[in-house]
């Protein structure tokens, strides 16, 4: 019979909807409403994985996000997902799961050989060995890496998509258990905008695992359903299921991870797999519950050993039996609830092993009355069963609890539920910067009261209030408190839901349960099940001087597994405290960091993938370039036409043709991408005086000027032409890639340093489309398209601009040049960019107008020795280094970088300076980025004196040309340099000046 561990009735599963799934290739059945873990348990599957280091057989140990053992590989091919916690995966028809970290099978895993060496493979053993011979680490590492890891990473492109949204609300409630629901209801009643999130498919939290609870006089789950319905009907409430609040950043910025399709057998088209909600909440109420803490006893890791509360969850919520005959091992009264429910379900409880000498508590009394065998002052001191628990050994404890008596009773059983008390889930509270107090009585860290820097409110069991009545009352109060703090005005009304208060009974905190032999000599007391760290490992770390809890964590890897120590950390630090004979709060906790549970990369990236990671910017003329067959290069965020190859042309041929065509007749370049900043205000000229090295006050309206902008360090940061539009109005251009940083830089100064200046900056890069026409026929071409602009040298000289009409479009025509030839930059409103371009192409056909791209532009400007900031400068170059002293005003007042230019090293004649370079063989083109030396040696190291920043074949010079930054280069004209290449060749060259073509500069004045 399948599902032989399924109870006849009960549970929140839909028995009318059976589900088929596959586990390690076997077809198994479960029900809708199961988790993968509960279905495996119902099918009697106990062995679900192997531990990280020793490859010990492991079974499901929890029913929640704290699961350390049942990490399965889900799905296949491109859809595969490593390390899925079986306890959190909802079952669906067709689910495929396989075990991880086992070869060839989970039953017979050769990795288990590691267990044989476990006496050597103690914590930190790898720091002490694998050091010989000295180069062998990579060899050892190869095998260590193969043995490590858990699941397998997907290898194919993820076909799913993910979503991310930014959201806000008045009150965010984390957790849909009784405290969270109560809080959401009371906050919602005030009219506040409330978001309630819970990581399960349905609300109720711990109530789903319990039985017999009543709220407001009705069965608890009925109350939950009513609460849910009420919240659903309210417009001011947003409810998210399958949604985990995983990160709590500063200022109530909370990341919520919602799973939308993982539980569906057929994934609906168009629905993202996951969605992250980045929630900015005015107030946050944390009602995240508590996680049961296992007892640390000898060989506490066998399949069949789980948390007592997990046993109860499987029975009550899923109608699945953890086994047929069990032992419950506890130090407190709460585990007796499990005992009672299991007995009700017909499961045999062989014994309750209770470490308390005189256990008190209403549940214990009930169990006692029901005739359950209770062994007090006793402990489980050993277990047996390799692949599945067969029996446990029980012995009476000594008075101090540090040793067990030698009289041992063996109890046959197939499962054991252990409870060492409860750890409030304080993760989000701590991520937000909240502090913790230690509750000595319960042995638990609880949130310290909220304060100004950490205003969130914890309620319910995550605050250490484990009783249902307290949870409801705290939630109700917090809901109103949060709404008030969020600024909602309301009249207090309603009252908290009520439940019967129950006495928690007493506890005996026995952090380390003794075994039959001294610790570490026989069997293992596991602390962190996944990482195989044991109590003996903790003590070894302390013995070796790793005493800070952070050292202990790192040396033993305790708490560093995928569950991040949800069940391990408090036990570990308590044992550390005990060993060091210090108080638990003195030892302290390690840092709680996001995420609370592992979250898919894809969900955090959201839609910022593929083209949307950094959307490409294209100009209005882009489609024309595409149709013309242009190749593009990425410049900043822009796609720029790189060159326009004709059939059969490579880049070299195309560029040679484009360069010659421009110099001989007319070329056209799309210059739209240059950054454009509109500078306006009565102090605009003074502002430019301060940001550029040269003077701006006297620039006439209608005139243009080239400017260099420095950083505070005196180094060239950007350049461009700025034109005066009106007395109080300039248009600044920047390099394509630097437009945004320059705007940020300027705003920074305006807003923080020069608050006295009245200047307004507006980015207008995308408002204008610019076509640059250049060449001897540029004027003739333009004159055919305008009748209201006088293009004569007198009316529109070099470095002037004018408004006018071009091809019927209102335009600004700038007579500026980056080619050294007669050139006009025609800017029109962006929507007319394509029309302008087409008109120029049509009118230009009689001049054989040739479109050219950035590569040709680079060659043309290099022929003239014009620099490109970012190519011929690198953040360590001053205007002086560029031989551009002429642009640094000596007369005007302060400007950014001025002070730095006066530093003594700035005038060192041996600084790197921009020079031209000619190869001795004119056909040889130096590679850009080549390094230059004065003396060639047989092999490195060699002293470098400079490097080649720009290098091209120049068709107009009929030879190669290059620019380089060379130490003391300006004084070394005519000197020979050598460039040793990676292939061993040495290119010989000579230093020259940087202007290679039209040295007199006649052409641009044409």
């Amino acid at each position: 019979m399948s599902q032989k561990f399924r109870l006849e009735s009960g549970g929140l599963i839909n028995r009318d909807k059976p589900v088929t799934f596959s586990f390690n290739g076997h077809e198994l059945k479960g029900y809708d409403g199961d988790t993968l873990a509960s279905a495996l348990i119902a099918n009697g599957v106990h062995l679900v994985g192997r531990s990280f280091k020793y490859h010990r057989p492991r079974g499901i140990m929890s029913a929640g996000p704290e699961e350390a053992n049942a990490l399965l590989q889900l799905g296949e091919g491109a859809y595969t997902e490593p390390n899925a916690r079986a306890t959190m995966e909802e079952l669906f028809d067709g689910l495929v799961a396989t075990t991880s970290n086992a070869f060839p099978t989970v039953k017979y895993d050769i990795g288990e050989v590691n267990s044989l060496f476990s006496k050597i493979f103690v914590s930190g053993f790898y720091y002490k060995t694998f050091m010989w011979p000295s180069k062998a680490w990579k060899f050892y590492e190869h095998f260590i890496r193969k043995a490590a890891g858990i699941g397998k990473a997907p290898e194919e492109h993820d076909p799913d998509f993910y979503d991310k949204t930014n959201a806000f609300c008045d009150v965010l409630v984390v957790g849909g258990g009784p405290a969270g629901l109560s809080a959401a209801l009371s906050a919602a009643a005030t009219g506040a905008h409330v978001t309630l999130v819970d990581d399960q498919p349905r609300f109720g939290g711990s109530l789903m695992a319990q039985s017999g609870q009543e709220i407001d006089g009705k069965p608890a789950l009925e109350w939950v359903d009513e609460a849910e319905a009420k919240l659903h009907d309210l417009d001011n409430v947003q409810v998210l299921r399958r949604a985990t609040a995983f990160a709590y950043y500063d200022h109530n910025y909370v990341g919520i991870w919602e799973r939308l399709t993982d539980h569906l057998p057929v994934k609906p088209e168009g629905l993202p797999r996951h969605r992250v909600h980045m929630m900015r909440a005015k107030q946050v109420i944390i009602a995240s519950g508590a996680i049961e803490r296992p007892l640390v006893f000898c060989d506490n890791d066998r399949p069949g050993i789980m948390l007592a509360s997990a046993c109860r969850t499987y029975v009550n919520r899923f109608g699945a039996k953890p086994g047929n005959k069990g032992v419950i091992f506890t130090n407190n009264d709460s585990a007796y609830a499990t005992v009672l429910d299991l007995i009700d379900a017909g499961i045999e409880i062989k014994a309750v092993v209770d470490v308390r000498k005189d256990p008190l508590g209403p549940l214990m009394e009930k169990a006692d009355a029901a005739g359950v065998k209770i062994l007090t002052n006793s402990a489980v001191v050993g277990t047996s069963g390799r692949l599945h628990l067969k029996s446990v050994e029980v012995a009476e404890l000594s008075d101090d609890g540090e040793t067990a008596k030698s009289d041992v009773t063996e109890i046959a059983c197939d499962f054991l539920g252990s409870s060492g008390g409860w750890n409030p889930t304080v993760h989000l509270h701590c991520q937000a910067g909240g502090k913790l107090d230690f509750d000595e009585e319960r042995g638990a860290f609880v949130p310290a009261p909220s304060n100004r820097t950490n205003p969130n409110i914890s309620v319910g069991s995550c605050k250490g209030a484990f009783g249902l009545a307290d949870c409801l009352a705290q939630g109700f109060e917090a809901g109103q408190e949060a709404a008030k703090a969020a600024g909602i005005k309301f009249r207090k009304s309603g009252k908290a839901p009520t439940a019967e208060a129950v006495d928690e009974g007493n506890r005996r905190l026995l952090w380390l349960v003794p075994g039959k032999k001294p610790l570490g000599q026989s069997g293992k007391h596991f602390i962190d099940l996944q990482n195989d760290s044991t109590a003996a490992d903790l003590q070894l770390a302390l013995r070796e001087g790793y005493r800070s809890i952070e050292h202990v964590k790192r040396y033993t890897t305790t708490g560093m597994a995928t569950d991040q120590g949800k069940t391990a950390n408090v036990n570990a630090l308590a044992i550390v405290a005990q060993t060091l004979n210090e108080a638990i709060p003195t030892v302290g906790t390690t840092t709680y960091r996001p995420p609370y549970v592992p979250v898919t990369f894809g969900a955090i990236a959201g839609r910022d993938i593929d083209d949307l990671l950094d959307p490409a910017r294209t100009t209005p003329m882009h489609s024309w370039h595409v149709n013309a067959g242009a190749e593009f290069e990425d410049v900043g965020q822009w796609k720029r036409a790189w060159y326009f190859p004709q059939p059969g042309e490579d880049m070299h041929a195309a560029v040679n043709r484009e360069v010659a065509a421009m110099r001989n007749s007319v070329g056209i370049l799309d210059a739209t991408t240059l950054g454009k900043i509109d500078v306006k205000g009565k102090d605009a000229a003074e502002f430019l005086n301060r940001v550029y090295t040269n003077a701006w006050t006297k620039l006439g309206i209608g005139k243009c000027r080239y400017g260099l902008m420095l950083g505070e360090d005196g180094m060239v940061m950007d350049d461009g032409v700025t034109s005066r539009i009106a007395e109080d109005h300039f248009l600044m251009t920047t390099t394509t890639g630097n437009a945004a940083p320059v705007l940020g830089h300027l705003e920074d100064y305006l807003q923080t340093e020069w608050t006295d200046l009245e200047v307004y900056l507006t980015s207008v890069t995308e408002q204008w489309a610019t076509a640059s026409i250049a060449g001897p026929n540029a004027r003739a071409l333009l004159s055919e398209l305008t009748d209201d602009i006088d293009l004569s040298n007198e009316a529109l000289p070099f470095m002037a601009w004018t408004p006018g009409t071009v091809a019927g479009i209102p335009a600004r025509v700038f007579r500026i040049s980056f080619t050294g030839d007669l050139s006009y930059e025609i800017a029109v409103p962006a929507d007319y960019g394509l029309a302008l371009w087409q008109a120029l192409m049509t009118a230009g056909s009689k001049y054989d107008i040739t479109p050219y791209g950035t590569e040709t532009m680079h060659v043309l400007r290099a022929e003239k020795g014009f620099i490109i900031v970012g190519q011929d400068t690198d953040g360590s170059i001053t205007p002086v280094d560029l031989n551009m002293n002429w642009i640094v005003s000596k007369k005007k007042g302060d400007f950014i970088g001025k002070r730095s230019l006066d530093r003594e090293d700035m005038s060192d004649p041996n600084r790197k300076q921009l020079v031209g370079i000619l190869t001795d063989d004119p056909k040889e083109v130096l590679p850009e980025g080549a390094q230059l030396v004065e003396v060639v040696k047989d092999k490195p190291p060699m002293d470098m004196v400079g490097w080649v920043s720009s290098s091209y074949w120049s068709p107009n010079c009929d030879r190669s040309i290059a620019m380089a930054l060379v130490h003391g280069g300006l004084k070394k004209m005519g000197q020979k340099l050598y460039s040793p290449q990676a292939d061993g060749r040495v290119i010989e060259c000579t230093i020259t000046d940087t202007v290679f073509y039209d040295k007199e500069g006649n052409r641009q004045n044409g």
């Binding site: 060995t129 799913d160 070796e544 898919t600 360090d713």
Partner: protein, 417 residues
């Protein structure tokens, strides 16, 4: 070494249930005075103490640590080691460091797991390619191994990369430093601490420094959480708080402190066997021996001492990783954290004398401190021992921000016309 670590000592100790292992270092109370005191028990501070003892025979020295050893950036970085720096001054320092890394496990008798599985720096556009070529050529002529890989070679070297880069960031090439790689970060601090302790250095934890007092004889009294300690020389190595301690000592630094974040995925079987870095998408990734993807990015933009970061940075970093490795979208982030990096205006460290006599400072390693640990300790020890700069550390002196002799490793180079 008294208690040498080896497979034999492990086996021997297994017989006594590992009860006989001695502490890796003593936990001494501070003496009244030392020849030199290093403030800061991170990797750099402990390395400095070790090399002072080893190379200069100074054994009457102490390391004072406010918290736990290696608890600052040593504990928080992404463990990448490389020396393919552009400038001669940096290349010399980092290359010396890599050479020390290459024998460090044996030198310290502590396995720091230096794994030379290569570091790839990707180029995504023409500008990147030019910069790459410049750096590779400079590395080569400085004797630092560095080679160019074309896209096919990149794919062969690291099959996990999507050369399409999501369409926006295609891989056009990469530089490869084969001798680069990763190491086990905690082990570096612990290994140096143990080896320094063995040479007689007092490593004192939980001992914050509260102030300094200079004396006419040139000595300095350190007011510490464990009382006054007199020192002939003082070395400050407190990344994340450099400007705070300088202020305590009465001088100023041009240093900014900002959060730098990192994150790891859940552990998985080997899926990426090298280190991949991309400046353009701003992320880097490797896989730890435990199987976690270790991922880092740029520093947060704001100044802070909070050792955590903003959510935005993580969102951007993971988007960048998914662009280069779209198959990792289904992988899960397990933990994220932050450290505080001290950054100087030229993104190079300060290893220097200070305006205070007999006080030296080593700070401002920015995001590159871990890889520099051995070289930093070595050259800082040289500086402290001799009192005067030498070829390796002279370019990193504090007054370069006055003279303008910068070693500008970040530059403003990321723009194009």
């Amino acid at each position: 070494m008294k208690n040498r670590y080896s497979i034999f000592s492990l086996i021997r100790n297994a017989f006594s249930y590992h009860q006989e292992w001695p502490p890796a270092w003593r936990s001494p109370e501070p003496k009244k005075s030392y020849d030199a005191v290093i403030v800061g028990g991170g990797g750099h501070g402990l390395a400095t103490a070790y090399y002072l003892a080893k190379n200069h025979g100074m054994t009457n020295i102490a390391v004072l640590e406010k918290g736990w050893l290696g608890g600052g950036n040593t504990a928080r970085n992404t463990t990448i080691i490389r020396s393919n720096y552009l400038w001669d001054e940096s290349a010399k320092l980092y290359e010396h460091s890599v050479k020390l890394w290459e024998g460090l496990s044996q030198e310290l008798n502590y396995n720091v797991m230096f794994s030379q599985r290569g570091v790839l720096n990707l180029a995504h556009n023409q500008h990147d390619l030019r910069e790459l070529s410049r750096r590779i050529n400079a590395n080569r002529l400085n004797g630092v191994d560095s080679e160019f890989l074309n896209p096919e070679e990149v794919k062969k070297f690291c099959p996990a990369i999507d050369l399409r880069g999501g369409g926006r960031y295609p891989v056009l090439g990469a530089s490869l430093q084969r001798r680069g790689g990763t190491a086990r970060h905690d082990a570096v601090a612990w290994g140096y601490a143990r080896a320094a302790d063995e040479l007689g250095v007092d490593v004192i934890q939980n001992c914050p420094v509260l102030g300094f007092e200079s004396h006419a004889d040139g000595s300095i009294t350190i007011n510490s959480g464990k009382g006054p300690i007199k020192a002939g020389k003082v070395g400050l190595v407190v990344a994340g708080h450099s400007s705070v301690i300088a202020d305590m000592a009465g001088f100023r630094l041009p240093t900014e402190s900002r959060p730098l974040q990192a994150l790891v995925s859940e552990p998985m079987k080997p899926c990426i066997d090298t280190v991949v870095m991309s400046n353009a998408v701003h992320a880097y990734i490797s896989q730890s021996d435990k199987g976690e993807l270790v991922i880092g990015a740029g520093a947060d933009a704001y100044i802070s001492y909070g050792q955590k970061g903003s959510g935005h940075q993580t969102e951007h970093t993971l988007a960048a990783i998914c662009e280069m490795f779209p198959q990792f979208r289904r992988v899960k982030m397990m933990r994220q954290w932050g450290g505080i990096v001290d950054t100087n205006p030229d993104a190079s460290p300060i290893i220097s004398k200070t305006p205070v006599a007999n006080m030296f400072i080593n700070c401002g390693w920015g995001t590159g401190g871990f890889k520099g640990t051995p070289g930093s300790g070595w050259t800082f020890a040289d500086l402290i021992a001799s009192g005067e700069p030498d070829d390796m550390n002279a370019p990193f002196k504090l007054d370069r921000f006055k003279t303008g002799y910068l070693v500008d490793e970040h530059g403003a180079a990321a723009v194009a016309h």
